[in-house]
């Protein structure tokens, strides 16, 4: 590990100022950043500890501001997953959180940190190999290498890494907004624009400007509680990242689907949503044929790299299954792992 300076911020303004002055990295739960520093993947010169900032509340948003629920950036994944307003109004988020990591990690990991966690690509972690995300311009060790966990959608010749989060897949279908504060003040980023595709700049995971701090995640006042599921498929039934995961939510109206939303995890550099695929379901009665047609549309343009070819068919089937679970109102259990 490299030497670094350490400073603790007492308020958001101080955190932003400290980070800007020293080109620092924010430290919250530390479940990802500390690992990366130990492996020499991240070598920040300065750490700004934001653990004591007052950003831990989970509270309703004033109806005059549109209502919904505000999740503090420093609320832990564990307290978010068990919060009564989350389990009652946004159960797909609680489910995705419980599908991720382990109880100990969820107790430490924060919501803001979950958004900003880095890929678990083996080549990103191995400093002996080329990686454009870790060392821009050095090449991609994954292309032509072992690609079991890599992207099938939206990748580039510079990077085929995936975003590892479960939480973010649920936030994508919920149309969350990310509140951030930087030297230039506060701004709000729609979730679809928060994470980015690698293109020719894979070092950037998201659209945050240097020094910007995530302060909260806003969930709109929408009701998908009756029809939702988070279906996660992985090499081990617990404590493993998704090979493919699906968040699906619906609103039903008299036996027909009024609105459906689908997001995929484990397949791209960001949670993957295809509005045209969701439109295939709007106004239709639920049926296996419709679900298969929507799944086909989501996988439009999918490309395997050898070791991950299986993900294309796996994702197709997982989407169809998740849509059936959501339509029936029988969400996937995160403890009984049998897929019904």
């Amino acid at each position: 590990m490299n030497r670094f300076t350490y400073a603790r911020a007492d308020d958001v303004a101080a955190a932003v100022r400290l980070a800007a002055a020293a080109n620092g990295r924010f430290l919250a739960g530390g479940t990802n950043l500390v690992d990366l520093m130990k492996e020499n993947v991240e070598r920040p010169a300065a750490i700004v500890d934001i653990g004591r900032l007052p950003l831990r509340a989970i509270e309703p948003i004033d109806p005059r501001e549109g209502g919904g629920l505000r999740l503090g950036a420093l609320a832990t994944n564990a307290e978010t997953a068990r919060h009564p307003l989350v389990t009652a109004r946004y159960p797909v988020l609680a489910s995705a959180l419980l599908a991720g990591a382990s109880p100990q990690l969820r107790n430490a990991a924060t919501n803001g940190g979950n958004l900003n966690q880095r890929t678990r690509c083996y080549y990103f972690y191995d400093t002996a190999t080329a990686c454009n995300k870790r060392e821009p311009g050095s090449g991609c060790g994954a292309i032509g290498g072992v690609t079991r966990i890599h992207a099938i959608l939206g990748s580039s010749e510079a990077c085929i890494a995936t975003h590892p989060s479960d939480m973010c897949v649920a936030l994508a279908v919920l149309d969350a907004k990310v509140r951030v504060t930087g030297a230039g003040g506060e701004r709000v980023i729609p979730f679809a624009h928060y994470h980015r595709l690698p293109g020719d700049a894979p070092a950037r995971d998201n659209t945050l400007e240097p020094g910007e701090l995530v302060t909260a995640i806003d969930l709109p006042d929408e009701d998908f509680a009756a029809h939702h599921t988070y279906l996660k498929l992985r090499d081990r039934l617990s404590y493993a990242f998704a090979l493919v995961s699906v968040a699906a939510v619906m609103r039903m109206d008299g036996g027909r689907i009024a609105e459906a939303r689908i997001a995929l995890g484990g397949v791209a550099h960001k949670p993957w949503r295809v509005p045209e695929a969701e439109a295939v379901l709007a106004g239709q009665a639920p049926s296996p044929e419709r679900f298969a047609a929507a799944a086909e549309r989501v996988l439009d343009g999918a490309v395997g790299r050898g070791g991950n070819d299986f993900k294309i068919e796996l994702a197709r089937r997982a989407i169809a299954r998740a849509l059936a679970q959501a339509a029936a109102g029988t969400p996937q259990s995160q403890t009984d792992k049998r897929v019904a």
Binding site: P103, S238, T335
Partner: protein, 45 residues
Amino acid sequence: LLAEGVAHTREEVREWMSGNLCRCGAYTNITDAILQVMADERSAR
């Protein structure tokens, strides 16, 4: 695990133990022990 009240069945106990180290050889017995304490506490009430 017991104090938080999140685990009631064998599947739930196994899931909430996940991520602990040093359980590879003994975890079925640990699960049995947790379920036994849970049953004892229930019958003592």
